[in-house]
């Protein structure tokens, strides 16, 4: 398992684009927000938390097909499926690698981008916390979507279409935590829900993803 995690991390670093592309996309989304709604500081500070969550989610979505597509093309998935490593574990590890290489940089960068959107001071802490708790769910749900669309010709667009509805609860609770935090309200309620969703998906989704991947490899 450690070997698979290390390999995915090394590949992400060597191939480039692992950390960089997602972050750059996140930055672009954040920059586009004032262009589309206007530069008024009070408006920006009101929508900052939500806009940052949306940007992070889109950046995450963009890189999902990398979780499995390359391994499918070069036959690694077939070999992994016949290896002693259970597919459930392999998918959980690959989701973890995706989180480490794509989502974690977003979490780190989000407060910096928050400055651009005039995020209120108490919001920085809650935004970081909510992203830290919520993004693992995005990665692990994304691995399920990647397994569903592995080997399909127009997989990329379809993947987004399938995954976005599954992201709704995470986005709602995550953005709610950040927004309440930014407004100085108590955010522990939605944070607990967000944590619950993340814990639930980490516990259950690898099994669904592995079942789907076995079906897709046939």
């Amino acid at each position: 398992m450690r070997a698979l995690l290390l390999r995915d991390l090394i590949l992400a670093i060597r191939a480039g684009g692992g950390f960089g592309l997602g972050l750059a996309f996140f930055l672009i989304v954040v920059v586009l927000v004032p262009f589309s709604v206007g530069p008024a500081p009070e408006l920006l500070s009101r929508i900052a938390a939500g806009a940052l969550w949306l940007g992070a989610l889109l950046a995450c979505l963009l890189s999902l097909d990398r979780i499995l597509a390359l391994d499918w093309e070069d036959g690694t998935l077939d070999l992994l499926a016949t290896s002693p490593l259970p597919l459930e574990a392999a998918l959980a590890i690959k989701a973890l690698a995706h989180w480490l290489t794509t989502a974690l940089p977003l979490v780190v960068a989000a407060p910096l981008f928050g400055v651009l959107l005039n995020l209120p001071a108490p919001g920085f802490f809650w935004l970081t916390v909510s992203l830290l708790v919520g993004t693992p769910a995005l990665s692990i749900i994304g691995a399920f979507g990647a397994a569903l669309t592995v080997g399909l010709k127009r997989g990329g667009l379809l993947l987004s279409l399938l995954v976005v509805p599954l992201y709704v609860p995470t986005l709602i609770f995550g953005a709610e935590v950040a927004r309440r935090g930014a407004e100085g309200l108590d955010a522990t309620g939605p944070l607990a829900m967000l944590g619950g969703i993340t814990a639930g998906t980490i516990a259950l989704m690898p099994f669904a993803s592995a079942a789907v991947l076995r079906m897709a490899l046939k």
């Binding site: 698979l4 590949l11 070069d74 036959g75 690694t76 077939d78 070999l79 290896s83 002693p84 490899l217």
Partner: protein, 206 residues
């Protein structure tokens, strides 16, 4: 250690391609699968490797003893030859990477990225993977594609050494590898168009 297949029916895309296939391979034995393109060799091998379900019949072999190698090698072009082997050795619980590199004359290329290897060298690296996974049952689909004569001889030596240590191999190939091996022609087991009752998924609709 043996591999036995009894009355096996395998399907591709919902249609049976081979029906009633029975054979067995004993320890120390190699069997060459023959048959024209599209006759179902790959489907048969994938079924025996448990990558897809058989339509009917039994496969008697422990899936945890099988090493499967197909057209695509599962090599990462951004990893060096040694790193590629190291990864599979770790996943399968540690074989000797250096010995495997040596056996396929890749030691000199060990530090090179797989992206910079030639097709034949990549193929050799893919076959070297079989040595590090340490599994007795080899199921190989066209292992000699894009290998030159010298490399085929290397591969044949690898198979012979594997058989000598009590392993067994089921190989789909058109080449004569130059060692004693039984041949098994799958075209004799082609599922005929009229054949119904084999359990294919489309049959319910006929």
């Amino acid at each position: 250690m043996m591999l036995r297949v009894k009355d096996l029916t395998v399907a591709r895309g919902g249609l049976p391609v081979l029906a009633g296939v029975s054979f067995s391979v004993d320890a120390g034995q190699a069997v060459m699968l023959r048959g024209p393109n599209g006759s179902g060799k790959t489907t048969l091998l994938r079924t025996i490797a448990r990558l897809q379900d058989p339509v009917a019949g039994q496969i008697e072999c422990d899936p945890d003893q099988v090493a499967y190698a197909a057209h695509s090698d599962g090599l990462k072009s951004m990893l060096s030859a040694r790193e590629n082997l190291r990864f599979w050795a770790d996943v399968y619980g540690g074989g000797d990477v250096e010995a495997a590199l040596e056996a396929f004359e890749l030691s000199r290329l060990a530090e090179r990225m797989a992206a910079h290897l030639s097709a034949g060298q990549r193929r050799r690296l893919g076959l070297a993977r079989l040595l590090v996974v340490k599994r007795p049952i080899w199921i190989l689909d066209e292992p000699t594609v894009s290998l030159d004569e010298a490399s085929v001889a290397l591969f044949a030596n690898g198979v012979k050494a594997h058989l000598a240590t009590g392993g067994l191999a089921l190989i789909a190939t058109h080449l004569d590898l130059g060692f004693a091996a039984e041949r098994f022609d799958v075209s004799a087991y082609r599922a005929t168009a009229e054949a119904v009752g084999l359990g294919a998924s489309d049959e319910a609709f006929l």
